[in-house]
Point group: C2
Chain length 217, copies 2
Amino acid sequence: MSLTLHGYWRSSASYRVRIALNLKQLDYEYVPVHLVNNGGEQKSDAYQRLNPSKLVPTFVDSDADITLSQSLAIIEYLDEKYPEPCLLMPKHAQDRARVRMLAYDMACDTQPLANLRVLNRLKSDFDADDAAVKAWVQHWVTEGFNGLSKKIETRAGKYAYGYQVSLADICIVPQVYNALRFGVDMTAFPLIHKIYKNCTSLDAFAQAAPENQPDAV
Amino acid sequence: MSLTLHGYWRSSASYRVRIALNLKQLDYEYVPVHLVNNGGEQKSDAYQRLNPSKLVPTFVDSDADITLSQSLAIIEYLDEKYPEPCLLMPKHAQDRARVRMLAYDMACDTQPLANLRVLNRLKSDFDADDAAVKAWVQHWVTEGFNGLSKKIETRAGKYAYGYQVSLADICIVPQVYNALRFGVDMTAFPLIHKIYKNCTSLDAFAQAAPENQPDAV
């Protein structure tokens, strides 16, 4: 088995895949792709051959001869290929659909709007200063958490969907990490913050945290 | 069986679910939620009880007692629950992962940046005029299509992933529709445009098109 993750310490999507790999107890090689240095290493010819979207992460399973981008595609692939020691998706279709809904609330409607390349574009296109960029991130994260907190009310247990860690938690934790970094007031979202604390107390999440990566600044 | 789709004619995410429902040959009730009139009907108390994220679409399968938002969660649910007459996800894990990757290229990294609420926010936060908003959409759609067109090169057939319609096509078609609306030059992406034309010649896609919905203006 030979697994490689090309990622960046502070990328939410890379963080998600690291959590999943740790939960699956899979060894992998971590190859840092610095999104800022050298004009952005994700734009290099070598990296674009791996991932023409110029985004992190990219995951390579060389035994299976597959190269994948998109964190959620990678994580569902890992879950299908390595069901042990814990499933990240519930077994029943309805539960699985609800977990995906929560994950996409973060991965489609929240995180992409607070992405580094988007914030850079706000600066270059609209002369946005740091305060305006911060307000932009706070707005979208707050919107996302407002919806999410109501959606998880009924079924949250120790984690976002009951008492098993799922893809939903894997998407929520990096989003909260980002929210804290941008000064979002998490006291407005006590249930989400509780889930964040429950998750980050697990080794698999702690070891995946940005500050614990070799490329952390 | 009692299925209801709350959507908006021009919403890409609603369009995706309509395509999937048509491909599955499922009857459903369509309830328009006007995103502009009345201050945005998605913000009403009644709609927020259905979907606290204040976004379309929302799908209700009342026999199964499930209410779902997030188009891709809805579509994978439909695919699992109604495998006939055609599967939207390939059977093998690697193929499934690649199809999800292509779908997320559109659904996570492209469409959310060209969403109506985001464009409105550019106007309110940064005084963006119509030309600046158009340039913003063109930039992100071009970025998305640049990556996508290289990723599908090897495996595209009549459709984005071989010769079966998949979740990837369901995400690509509304994105091309949107691209054309915002004046993106599709001659730069001949393979994507070919797939768009092959898909939209199918009844399931044609009947799902925005202009064919009862709430189209």
